[in-house]
Subunit: 418 residues, 2 copies
């Protein structure tokens, strides 16, 4: 997307000098000539609709309904110290946040919650920072070559930039895990499950590495609103983020669940040097919000109050049904399919309803991102995910009116031609 | 400090495996055998008093007095988006925080505040992260060797680790700026003013580099409670942090003031990839706290309500006087001296009263950190700042009862012997 010309807000964007932000739901990156950006979608018919980034504004309406139960207040004299819990290995983790994280995982059943010394929780400024902390922690301690970081295409578009930004001598981007052949060398495999962009459940693909391969599970979307919860995961290094769980992307709170104490210590060291921990206000507010989600699932307020996950599941299910209807009518477009699976949390069978649609043009030679852009829909090209330009990733967690406009514009595309 | 044996909390600390955290006021780093840390000082006579880190708890009592005026509240449906201000180059900076930063700088007169396009404000997760963003932004874009980051000894103890953590191919630690001779090569000089650890006002020391030398001004302590405000600074790249300004270290909010738009863009790119911006809760609370400080200086509440800077100045002045009294009585100890200077903010002459005392043993062959440790006072050795072990840095911004205990223990040291 960077460096291309795009009409936005009636202004022509030329040769953007700001590279695309790199995140789980990257904000749109185009700078206009006067330095402003178009990210808050103006729904006028003349203005492109931005679904490139995955800003989770969909969840605002739920939090409005919850009202004062999720209001957060802090006094001026509170939380001055660097320390949140000096007794914890992760001294900057608020005990209340740790408690609510564990409570929610137990309730949802998506992760096996262990005793204190068998499992370490590390808080980060979003899971992006924790990915980098994990790269650091899993790199060889000796003076060997930088370890390869690989991930199966289509992989999350920001992993390459995270791995290569500082030209580290510890780790470097090694490309598509499917074509990683140097199995005698140590490597780190990023397994994003459900996958960003495609929404499918994943396992590692590099076999034969044995003890030399280390796996980071990026489980940002392993929550009931997006996918059936089929198993209590119990991997060595798992990452989550509040952005995708509650929708509070602005809070920049992620957490890692780590089994090995030495790996946890190195991740904490990275966090100390990178940012000296994580803002306490955000941690305490996140604790409150996670607690509200747990409460909403326990029917503590009123039996008729919809739980957070029910709300998210229903909204996304409806959006996916509407999108599939529109796509079905267009002979040239196709969407990723998902199996029907039993969700232990909802106690029912369901398909996945991912936060992103992974759409492709059946005629593989087309540039689908460009075609949609021509129809005033901005999405992220498959190229960015290490795959073909006939694929695109489209945010499904935008605001209701944005989603409706998207369907309206998509349904008017009669012919697919570059 | 790391790797040494220290008695803490009645337990013996052995071979700490967690390296010292790296920050402006680093938390104590020793892990006890059972993984816990002693950072909240227990004032029992048996337990070492930790003044190694600069946790600014001194300011809590002021914020208590301010009461509800500094209470911060946020609703559950607010600030979900990644974006704070899409119109700003720094799209994750809350407009209210930018406004309050500028208002406070104008009121204090420590920085020349310019028009929008002549000066860019970038928010970070503490100034630590912005230091790393600045290293990235000032590194050569071509494939040349990593640029040297230098700073005049005694330099802030965490710069070396920040520069070398990831073995970056873009920048590396180059040591004491006084002995940096390769002036034909590009370099970055960190100028910490007032200096951490010594509290003195500083200027760059590497001359002759000309256009090849780039300077980062770390101005964390350039506030009236610590030092006379003698000039409105107007450098290319200046860094500040809420931790040292208001005392809210737990909020992890720093800001950079940058003149060059391309440098600002690269710093923003680093922030995007590193953490996708900065928690909104902390930014909004910091805005509120900075606003309260401005109000306190404008006498908007009552004419008798002490301003934040008066409070900080008076407490630190008194602490320094008491410390100098104790040190004067000990023929072997000495403290850094500061000139009397006119402070434009207070409209009066004053000495500096830094956040750290930089103390030395007149007999230069002694290990002062070890001696104080033997007297149950934990401080940071001069070695860590690139200088002699007969120097130590001692936090002056601890809680009142900790400071009194420090004086009491220091005054009982009769003989200096290793």
């Amino acid at each position: 997307m960077c460096g291309t010309d795009t009409a936005t807000g009636g202004r022509v964007i030329k040769n953007s000098t700001v590279p695309p932000p790199c995140n789980h739901n990257p904000p749109v990156s185009e700078s206009t000539e006067n330095g402003t950006r178009s990210v808050v979608n103006n729904l006028s018919s003349e203005i492109p609709l931005n679904l490139d980034h995955g800003d989770p504004r969909m969840f605002e309406s739920y939090w409005k309904k919850v009202g004062d139960r999720c209001k957060f207040t802090i006094e001026g004299h509170e939380s001055l110290s660097y320390f949140a819990n000096p007794k914890n290995l992760c001294w900057f983790l608020e005990p209340k946040l740790e408690e609510e994280i564990k409570k929610l995982h137990k309730m949802v059943g998506n992760v096996k919650v262990e005793e204190e010394e068998d499992q370490f929780i590390i808080v980060g400024n979003g899971s992006s920072q924790l990915i980098q902390a994990a790269f650091y922690a899993l790199s060889p301690l000796d003076d060997s070559n930088p370890i390869n970081v690989v991930s199966a295409a289509p992989y999350y578009s920001c992993y390459p930039e995270m791995a290569d930004l500082l030209k580290s001598g510890l780790y470097k981007w090694g490309g598509d895990a499917h074509s990683f052949n140097d199995k005698e060398e140590p490597f780190i495999e990023m397994v994003t499950s459900p996958n960003n962009p495609s929404g499918v459940i994943r396992e590692p693909v590099v076999n034969g590495g044995g003890a030399k391969g280390k796996v980071i599970y990026d489980l940002a979307y392993y929550w009931p609103q997006y996918t059936p919860i089929t198993a209590k995961l119990d991997h060595d290094l798992m990452l989550f983020t509040v952005s995708k769980c509650t929708g509070h992307a602005g809070s920049r709170i992620g957490w890692a669940i780590v089994k090995d104490k030495e790996v946890a210590k190195r991740m904490i060291k990275f966090m100390e040097i990178s940012t000296i921990g994580v803002a306490k206000e955000s941690q305490l507010r996140a604790a409150k919000l996670l607690g509200v989600i747990s409460d909403s699932c326990s029917n503590v307020w009123s039996p008729n109050f919809e739980s957070f996950f029910e709300y998210g599941h229903l909204v996304l299910k409806e959006r996916w049904e509407k999108l599939r209807e529109v796509v079905k009518k267009n002979p040239l477009l196709s969407l990723q399919k998902y199996p029907l699976q039993y969700c232990h949390f909802f106690g029912d069978f369901s398909e996945s309803h991912p936060a992103f649609a992974w759409m492709n043009c059946k005629n593989g030679s087309k540039d689908l991102e460009k075609i949609l852009r021509g129809n005033k829909i901005l999405v992220r090209s498959g190229r960015r995910f290490g795959t073909d330009p006939n694929y695109v990733r489209i945010s499904m967690v935008c605001k209701e009116e944005e989603f409706n406009l998207f369907l309206q514009r998509l349904s008017t595309i009669k012919e697919i031609s570059d």
